[in-house]
């Protein structure tokens, strides 16, 4: 049906197209925003984002048809609208139906193409499109580096059935909670959203750690762990594609039973042992390409004979135990994520077309003490070191709506990564003016500061600290982490070279002794 040498390049092409789409979707949306604000000319010149947006503008602006196409393109891989065509991940569809307990027509329409493709072609999303699969294929190649570094590449195996359990359990959670949480953990959706966050706001969110943890687990502990044993999306597509029409089929006459295909299969299937691959096959065609005796090929297969049945695989007796281990590992991984996620300033960087446009400061530092609501703001919103900034406290009694009328004392400390904090302002006392307490300060350098407010609350003296950032402080801790990481890599490389040398010496010695004999 298809030349075996065409499959791999074609598959790489679709994978790369998907990756490009992941980046392009938010870029096009950002372009639309700036275009509609007539602000493309005002963007800062030296950013790659600006360059990309201007390139898009060159190709799109003069062609009304393309402009319309861009206007009708938005979303992430979880659910996207591409040139007006609405597409949703089947898992998103199932989850939305279960969690909202309703059928919504536009959602059903958007499921049409993906579900039809999966029913006819099987789990092709995984093999041909999913960005997580593309990433993990690369990670799997990374195991060679691991072997070169003389680190044992473990491969803990689980039952392929686990992912159906994961699908069932997660849909159970969704149904009980009425809360679609899968969008937050399903890797293709996470990758797409993280790229979106990065392009829109310049920083990744928490999801990146999840992706990295899965990748690290696959690299060191279990080959292709996520796609084989865990992915609820993969489970759903397998079920949908159970009676698919295009399958990998083995010609028993040509097959020499070398087992290459079994070694190649990324999804732990055994094309050598069966005539047509079962429902979990992604039709990726790696085995077809790897088969030197030309025994495997895509074939159009009517589903009926497949229902007739199965030779059982060697059973995995440890499956339940392993499932518990996996579940615990997952929980630990997620807990780790929240620990790693130390702090981020809530909200995106303030949005402005022109850097010198006088925007209202939007960063606010709220606090509560006794009956008082304290709100600290600063102007400019993000203070620049060396330039004066006005810091304002608005202190209101929650119950009486009255403003705190007594003077407050203010002190500003510069935080230090090592050693004690230094006082850069005050302590000084300020009376209220126009219902606010204001003072002006010039921050000496790019760093994190603590603004300490001292006020009387119900007869006691209360000190409220506010953490605030001036300029772009270089994180001292991240340099330490980087140094430690490079030290570890260096030690591992030295160790690997040592082991290799020792082995070579030993083999030379044995060669010499052989000669002597």
């Amino acid at each position: 049906m298809m030349n075996r040498w065409v499959i791999a390049p074609l598959r790489r092409l679709t994978q790369m197209t998907t990756l490009a789409l992941v980046v392009l979707l938010p870029l096009l949306a950002l372009y639309s925003h700036y275009k509609q604000a007539h602000a493309i000319a005002d963007l800062p010149d030296n950013q790659w984002r600006t360059k990309a947006i201007r390139e898009i503008d060159k190709t799109v602006a003069d062609d009304p048809q393309r402009a319309k196409w861009v206007q009708e393109t938005q979303g992430t891989l979880w659910s996207a609208r591409i040139g007006g065509v609405s597409l949703s991940d089947p898992l998103a569809g199932v989850e939305a139906i279960v969690s909202s307990r309703s059928l919504y027509q536009p959602m059903l329409w958007s499921l049409l193409i993906p579900v039809a493709a999966t029913v006819l072609l099987g789990r092709v999303f995984c093999g041909w499109f999913c960005p997580m699969n593309t990433l993990l294929e690369v990670v799997d190649k990374g195991r060679r580096v691991l072997r070169w570094l003389e680190i044992r590449d473990r491969d803990v195996r689980f039952s392929l059935r686990n992912k159906y359990v994961v699908l069932g359990l997660s849909l159970l959670i969704v149904a009980v909670a009425g809360m679609p949480f899968l969008a937050l953990v399903y890797p293709p959706a996470v990758i797409s959203r993280e790229v979106h966050l990065w392009i829109f706001g310049g920083a990744f969110g928490l999801g990146v750690y999840l992706i990295l943890l899965i990748a690290a687990f696959e690299l060191f502990v279990s080959r292709r762990w996520w796609c084989r044993y865990v992915c609820p999306g993969g489970a759903l597509y397998s079920l949908l594609g159970r009676f698919r029409l295009i399958r990998v089929r083995r010609d028993t006459q040509k097959c020499v039973r070398c087992g290459d295909c079994v070694k190649i299969c990324q999804f732990d299937l055994r094309p050598m042992l069966v005539e047509t691959t079962g429902m979990e096959c992604t039709n990726c065609g790696s085995c077809i390409r790897g088969c030197d005796s030309d025994a495997l090929s895509y074939r159009f297969v009517l589903p009926l004979p497949v229902i007739a049945k199965p030779a059982a695989l060697p059973k995995n007796a440890d499956a339940p135990k392993q499932f518990v281990v996996m579940l615990l590992a997952g929980i630990v991984a997620l807990a780790g994520c929240s620990a790693v996620y130390a702090h981020h300033i809530l909200g995106l960087p303030h949005y402005s077309y022109k850097e010198n446009y006088p925007q209202a400061p939007t960063l606010e530092y709220p606090a509560k003490t006794g009956p008082y609501d304290v709100l600290m703001t600063s102007y400019p919103g993000k203070p620049v070191p060396g330039e004066p900034a006005t810091i304002t406290f608005y202190i209101k009694n929650r119950n009486t709506n009255e403003v705190y009328a007594k003077p407050v004392t203010v002190r500003v400390l510069q935080t230090a990564t090592f050693g004690a904090n230094t006082v850069v302002y005050g302590p000084e006392t300020h009376p209220p003016f126009d219902n606010q307490h204001k003072f002006t300060i010039t921050f000496p350098s790019d760093a994190e500061y603590i603004v300490e407010l001292t006020m009387q609350v119900e007869g006691r003296e209360e000190v409220i600290p506010f953490l605030m950032v001036a300029g772009e402080p270089s994180a001292g801790t991240s340099i330490v982490v980087l140094l430690a990481a490079s030290l570890v890599v260096f030690i591992i490389a030295v160790r690997a070279i040592k082991i290799k040398r020792q082995r070579r010496r030993q083999s030379q010695q044995t060669a010499v002794s052989m000669e002597a004999v």
């Binding site: 979707l25 909670a177 497949v306 809530l346």
Partner: protein, 218 residues
């Protein structure tokens, strides 16, 4: 014919797997009960136009970012992960950064975010004054009289001029007051307010249920 659909289970292994599946399901149900959108609906925030009541919204929105992309004024943002598992990825507005301009500068029949929503978390709203006044209730503007210049020996009137639907009434010395029934919560007054911190603010409210209001639309 052989195939790889190795899904058959004999009774013994079925019972064995039950010993794992039963506690796992119990854990799943417990997690589900812990992730309760009803409980989280209490700290409501400002959602895009046409949003369902908060608990319904949280269970219907699939966190796909389409409305974030579609908003022509870049007013819709998505919640960061630090907002917690129920809120992360959902769209919200922060009017003092960018307010909802009700798609006034783009050609569209429906408000863009409501037209692209695949899940029905944002119900479609036509870009007409009657539909907007009927159905858009993102929040309601509240004026802090301690901060408002017009109530503190100055005159201002900026919010009155910013309001697109005439929901702010102006009195003697440009003292503003909000007609709460008419306010749609777009936030243009908060965006325009010249006091820092802003004297007029959009507060989240309990939204009416609009599901099925547009049944006839294809």
């Amino acid at each position: 014919m052989k195939s790889e659909t190795h899904m058959s289970l004999d009774r013994r292994s079925f019972l064995k797997s039950l010993t794992v599946l039963a506690p796992a399901s119990a854990a799943a149900i417990a997690t589900g009960m812990w992730l309760d959108p009803e409980a989280d609906a209490a700290h409501a925030c400002i959602r895009p136009p046409g949003a369902l009541p908060e608990a319904d919204f949280l269970s219907t929105c699939i966190r796909c970012m389409r409305c974030v992309d579609a908003c022509p004024n870049h007013a819709i943002k998505s919640m960061p992960a630090s907002a917690g598992p129920l809120q992360a990825g959902t769209p919200f507005l922060k009017p003092r950064e960018q307010a909802c301009m009700l798609c006034s500068r783009v050609e569209t029949d429906y408000l863009r975010c409501t037209a692209v929503c695949p899940s029905g978390a944002l119900q479609p709203i036509q870009k007409t004054l009657s539909d907007v006044l009927d159905k858009v209730r993102m929040g309601v503007a509240r004026i802090d009289f301690n901060l408002c210049y017009s109530y503190n020996h100055y005159t201002c009137g900026t919010c009155y001029h910013a309001c697109p639907v005439g929901a702010i009434k102006i009195g003697l010395w440009e003292k503003p007051s909000v007609i709460e029934d008419r306010c749609i919560g777009c936030g243009l007054c908060e965006r325009a307010c010249i006091r820092y911190p802003q004297a007029v603010r959009i507060e989240a409210i309990e939204r009416p249920n609009q599901r099925g209001a547009e049944e006839g639309r294809a």
